[in-house]
Amino acid sequence: MIEVTGLTKRYGRKVAVNDLSFTVRPGVVTGFLGPNGAGKSTTMRMMLDLDNPTSGSVKIDGKHYRELSEPLKHIGALLEAKAMHGGRSAYNNLLCLAQSNRIPASRITEVLDMVGLTSVAKGKSKGFSMGMGQRLGIASALLGDPEILMFDEPVNGLDPEGIHWIRNLMKGLATEGRTVFVSSHLMSEMALTADHLIVIGQGRLLANTSMADFIHENSRSFTRLRSPDRERVKDALDEAGITAVEGTGGVLEIDGVEPERLGELAARHGIVLHELSSQRASLEEAFMRMTAESVEYHAHTGPDGGGAPATGWGSPGWGTPAGGGNDQGKGA
């Protein structure tokens, strides 16, 4: 369990992390989500006592990090890939860490095997690809067989097979009852792995909610229908008492009606359909709406692009917020 209380970090006048308080619980994967520059890495470094907080505290199983006698046996972290000496072999890099925390050398072979680096264990880590460096970092996190694991952007640089592997690894670790805390700036990635979500923007807590609640409150499902005979479709829908919203390109979006029913309706009227599909407004959009005001680096689309955050994303017409659920946790 990790308890963060009133954690604040200032660099001069700039506030990187602003009064964050949350608890990371065992047994689930907790996603730590925020746009670039939101303060995720700074928060994680403070959790590991690498950066000094301006105020506030972090407790690991009730203790300050510096009070842990052999910290790698309590908490393992992947911070950035290649936080290792390039001139040293993968095995020796892990050996240095293992010895400092009195972890038996046999464990090194085990973790190298777990991350699939056994064949290059004797190779200098300088020659490693980004993905291999990431795997070595994950091996170092697992080294002390800790109850708490922390991964900062673990999928960066991994190939699809590696991404699949790390997702299952994190889920497996959580199933074993461990605390798994993983950061990402990709909502889609979190949707696949995390059970609980902590969202921050500009160092502030925006949401602290279970993944299921987040999806429930932020996603809108609807049926997408496309037909060359749009007017007849609309008439048929009116007749059946179904309301449709017109999207762009002659598309109709219908809330709360299953595609089966719509298909049967169209068949009864002999209407040709070119598309009939279930859609779900992406969580990415819900995330972007939530963090829109707190995104630090806006991309400007034109010379007079103004301050509007990346409006060109996603399909037009999907952006309608489904209720006010996305306000949850704001300013907490």
Binding site: L50, L79, E80, G86, C96, N101, R102
Partner: protein, 259 residues
């Protein structure tokens, strides 16, 4: 609290598993011994050309340590890389996550590297001395002569202190490149030049290398070296104060700054 023997063992593994350790320490030994031997041989053959005063104050012990001028630079590189590579590789975050107690981590590392530098320094000192004296022939001296053993052991201490000083400076600057960029020209040029300039000489005497090298001299005013306001151990003490200052500075930086 981290277990100190465990940290020492880990730091020893760090040092022995990178190739820079081997080549910097071998360079320090080879350069010092070879250059000292070459100068000893040269002086032996040219001894008759020296002036009467130079002949009278000739210091065969110090002559055999002439290679130290260049050899110490390899020790500087060793010291800087031991600490600086933690920062340049990004390993520092992994290391401090494993050993969060800054003092245990930094001084454990410096102790292990310092003892290794001392061992290599002593070996270098004895090799330089015996090879140099052999090549000096009739002008050489023996290890049993007064103050000679002190100078030979002192040369090993000098090399170790140079290395540890460099470790402290690298910990303060948190960068190998920056530390080398300052220390190399300082020890190679600035210190030597200033100690020869009349006005600056009085200050330059208190520079770590100038003060420390007094321990290697048996004849105090040999080879045109001027009077110094301290003896051999006093000089080494001044050097040790510099080392302590660098270590305290390095520790304070590590404790205060974000990793």
């Amino acid at each position: 609290m981290a277990s100190v023997p465990a940290v020492l063992q880990s730091e020893w593994t760090k040092i022995r598993t990178v190739s820079s350790t081997t080549w910097t320490l071998i360079s320090a030994l080879v350069v010092t011994v070879a250059l000292g031997a070459a100068l000893s041989a040269l002086l032996n053959s040219q001894f008759g050309d020296l002036g009467a005063a130079q002949q009278a104050t000739f210091d065969p012990t110090y002559t055999s340590f002439s290679g130290m001028v260049l050899g110490q630079l390899a020790m500087v590189v060793f010291g800087v890389l031991v600490v600086g590579s933690e920062y340049s590789s990004g390993m520092i975050r992994t290391s401090l996550a494993a050993v969060p107690q800054r003092a245990t981590f930094l001084f454990g590392k410096i102790l292990v590297a310092g003892v290794l530098a001392l061992a290599v320094g002593l070996l270098t000192g004895f090799l330089s001395f015996f090879l140099g004296q052999a090549l000096l022939g009739d002008h050489g001296t023996g290890i049993g002569e007064p103050n000679v053993l002190r100078a030979v052991i002192g040369s090993g201490l000098y090399m170790a202190l140079i290395a540890v000083f460099s470790m402290g400076v690298a910990a303060m600057l948190r960068s190998s490149m920056l530390a080398l960029g300052i220390l190399m020209p300082f020890f190679f040029l600035v210190s030597g030049i200033l100690s020869a300039v009349p006005g600056a000489k009085d200050v330059a005497h208190y520079f770590p290398d100038q003060a420390g090298s007094r321990i290697m001299q048996v004849v105090p005013d040999a080879l045109n070296s001027s009077d110094r306001p301290y003896g051999p151990w006093g000089g080494l003490g001044i050097m040790a104060l510099w080392v302590v200052a660098a270590l305290v500075g390095g520790y304070l930086v590590m404790r205060k700054r974000d990793a």
